[in-house]
Subunit: 106 residues, 3 copies
């Protein structure tokens, strides 16, 4: 296991995904953010099936910045409960690990 985490969250608009990325990069909370093409999101909410187009955001940062990223995401996200999940990176090449440590907030 490394000390790097990949965080996944979805946004209801492309513009919102872009703004969130800038907030995370400007604050040096994350090393990179990938905004994917919209996904067809189907989920259970208050007893009903809901369906929305959402833009997936994939964030790479240090594991010890997960909570800071969650806070920043919740502050700027329009949902009451944005689903935020983080995956520990198990394998990484040395150059990538060095880059992530270097560009993110001490």
């Amino acid at each position: 296991m490394t000390d790097i985490v990949e965080i996944h969250v979805t946004c209801p608009t492309l513009e919102g995904a872009r703004e969130l990325s800038h907030g995370l990069l400007d604050g040096r909370y994350a090393a990179c953010c990938h905004i994917g093409k919209e996904v067809d999101s189907r989920y259970l909410w208050q007893g009903k099936k809901e369906r929305h187009d959402e833009w997936p955001l994939t964030i790479k940062t240090r594991a010890d910045l997960f909570d800071t990223c969650c806070e920043a995401i919740r502050k700027h996200h329009p949902y009451e409960t944005p689903a935020i999940v983080g995956f520990a990176v198990d394998h990484v090449d040395a150059a990538t690990a060095e880059w992530i440590a270097e560009v993110t907030k001490a």
Copy 2:
């Protein structure tokens, strides 16, 4: 590590991915299913390189429902061996964890 898992499987048609999502949500085997844009899938099968367009399905649910989801996926999936993999979610914010526990089958 949390008790949440993210399951990845691909489907040969968009319609098939939608039907699979509904089956998983209706059975409350999963809290949410994201159907992504089609991917260019290249793989080794019976000694040859194969290429297909496939629709990726990303499923969030409780880890103890992984096998149940696999069963449901295999029952409805046209492939003999759909590649089904699950990743333990290492970090999650409390509100997301509560939501997943609440909406999935006890």
Copy 3:
């Protein structure tokens, strides 16, 4: 935890992603490669925010082939430091595990 890993890397061109896939499959370093639709990639590099369209490549293989895949990726990738990360697959159904073990290099 299984002995399977999912590797993520992005490529600056679709053609590059295809060539990389073929190199990995031809060498039997990987069982399958999914090339996704381009992502809007934003990242910190040498003190500045950079933005590029990149094609995400998702690679499934055995965990003990991670370093071999990294070597092959770096050899064919145009970036000086391609960000290569690997996630241990925690859950897999037996048929998928058997297939990956069978088609990848001993």
